[in-house]
């Protein structure tokens, strides 16, 4: 019998901006005029193509419009559907793709305002991540400062592939602001597509892009640890959203192995990388890249060497599982309780502040 999921905290759902028309009320006069004058109707990324099976589970796919763009459906399918007490909205919109830093800032601000007014105000179970114009650190920090007072924003959202590696010091003011406000940094699959989505150039197929996201996570994690982000910001949490999870043990082994011999390159990394990751990095559950086999799953969970790193998530409306099988077959009940409540509450301090 499947475990009862009622009351779980769903750490990754994806309400969608239906189109730029929805953001017009939240843009300032200049940018509203520019959107109309230029004839812009949407900010579309190739990360989740509209008709790709991954983009929306068949039973959640609307006849018209974008998946998860209507509050009533998200309430029915994600919140009521799984009985979640809280769900964190990670809005994926093409903000990070823009080359104009000012337009990106205007769009990020509009998306966040739209999230607050159209979603958070209308369902007390919803929380959201702050979309930031990562193209410009100063503007990204400004957006964090603008939103931080609204305690329903619980995280800062960035993509796995931006212009530069996330450990680079140019991004540190973002981490300082996030740490100061008790906001984890959530890293989600996706790219600004300012670089090819693989280190070897442009792939041909969507499959290659999505599979390759796991490598981007590995690279970003290595960058964050090596550059000393967690040494400088020891209480900062980074959440790897929709990362696939099971690549982590091998990556930790590799990172730690090379740190042992090359510690003098990064003397500020004062603990084994595996230790740092287990204290500062969290991963959402779905998708979990493992066969539907209890023994294999248990071995993988054992390799994570911690019951604190996983966070419950459905990844709604992305098609990662069918029915209500959010937890993989054979997932231990005691660990399920931890990932549904304890771990999210420990990761996102703001979740405990407001009644769900």
């Amino acid at each position: 019998m499947p475990l009862d999921l009622t009351g779980a905290i769903d750490c990754d759902i994806h309400p969608a901006v239906p189109g730029l028309a929805a953001l017009l009320p939240y843009l300032d006069d200049h940018w509203r005029d520019q959107v109309v004058t230029r004839g812009m109707d949407d900010l579309v990324s190739i990360s989740y193509p509209a008709n790709a099976p991954l983009t929306c589970r068949p039973d959640w796919r609307p006849k018209e419009g974008k998946p998860a763009s209507e509050l009533a459906r998200v309430q029915r399918e994600a919140l009521d559907g799984f009985g979640s007490s809280i769900a964190i909205a990670n809005c994926l919109y093409g903000v990070q793709l823009l080359f104009s830093e000012d337009l990106a800032a205007a769009m990020a601000r509009a998306v966040n305002e739209w999230l607050a007014r159209e979603w958070l105000d209308r369902d007390p179970r919803l929380r959201a991540s702050i979309v930031v114009p990562i193209q410009n650190t100063e503007l990204a920090v400004e957006e964090i400062e603008r939103r931080a007072a609204d305690r329903r924003f619980v995280q800062v959202l960035v993509l796995a592939m931006n212009d530069r590696l996330l450990g680079k010091r140019q991004y540190w003011p973002i981490y300082a602001a996030a740490e100061r406000h008790g906001l984890p940094i959530g890293i989600h699959p996706g790219s600004s597509y300012h670089n090819p989505p693989t280190p070897i150039g442009w792939p041909t197929y969507h499959t290659e892009d999505y599979v390759g996201q796991a490598q981007a996570f590995q690279t970003q994690l290595t960058s964050l640890v090596s550059e000393g982000v967690f040494t400088r910001f020891p209480t900062l949490k980074v959440v790897l959203l929709e990362s696939g999870v099971t690549w982590l043990p091998a990556q930790l082994w590799r990172m730690t192995k090379f740190w042992r011999g090359l510690r003098m390159e990064v003397p500020w990394v004062d603990r084994a990388p595996a230790d740092i990751v287990r204290s500062n990095v969290r991963l959402t559950l779905q998708p979990i890249d493992a066969p539907p086999d209890r023994d294999t799953l248990l071995r993988i969970l054992d390799h994570l060497q911690s019951d604190e790193v996983l966070l419950f998530s459905t990844d709604y409306p992305h098609w990662q599982f069918d029915g209500d099988a959010v937890l993989p077959e054979g997932f231990p009940e005691s660990l399920a309780r931890r990932i549904m409540l304890d771990n999210p509450l420990a990761t996102y301090p703001r979740l405990a502040e407001l009644p769900a």
Binding site: G228, T231, M264, A272
Partner: protein, 137 residues
């Protein structure tokens, strides 16, 4: 424990090193500024010959981007995998232990920020008896 003469002092000048055998065991002898040190010539990681390792300093850091280079010439890096050992104590400066066990001793001395790992190279007392280098074992 008995005393074994392994070399004449002149054979191992400051900065020099020599691999000797005492009671069938290979011992790497180092002369650092006139002070002699001995290590069992087998890295506790996978057995690399420590006598062939590079003597370096201990790189410490207070924060990312800051480098503090101390104790130059007193840290031995194994030639195989680069693990660092304190030539005075044999203590390693990397942390190969799995996090959850946390069984290894951690010692932090003033101004020192690295974790001393659980791997310890075996040191051998080496003294200078007038013109001879003496190993006690």
């Amino acid at each position: 424990m008995s005393r074994h003469v392994v070399a004449r002092v002149a054979e191992i000048p400051p900065g020099g090193r020599k691999l000797v055998t005492v009671r069938g065991r290979p011992i790497a002898i180092f002369n650092i500024g006139g002070e002699f040190f001995g290590l069992f010539n087998r890295c506790p990681h996978q057995g690399g010959s420590l006598c062939d390792g590079r003597l370096t300093g201990l790189l410490l850091s207070d924060q990312p981007g800051s480098y503090r280079y101390e104790r130059q010439g007193e840290i031995l890096r194994c030639p195989w995998h680069g693990w660092e050992f304190d030539i005075r104590t044999g203590q390693s400066y990397c942390d190969p232990e799995r996090v959850r066990t946390r069984a290894f001793p951690v010692a932090v001395t003033p101004g020192q920020t690295v974790v001393e790992g659980p791997y310890v190279a075996e040191t051998v007392p080496v003294t200078r008896d007038e013109d001879y280098v003496v190993v006690e074992m």
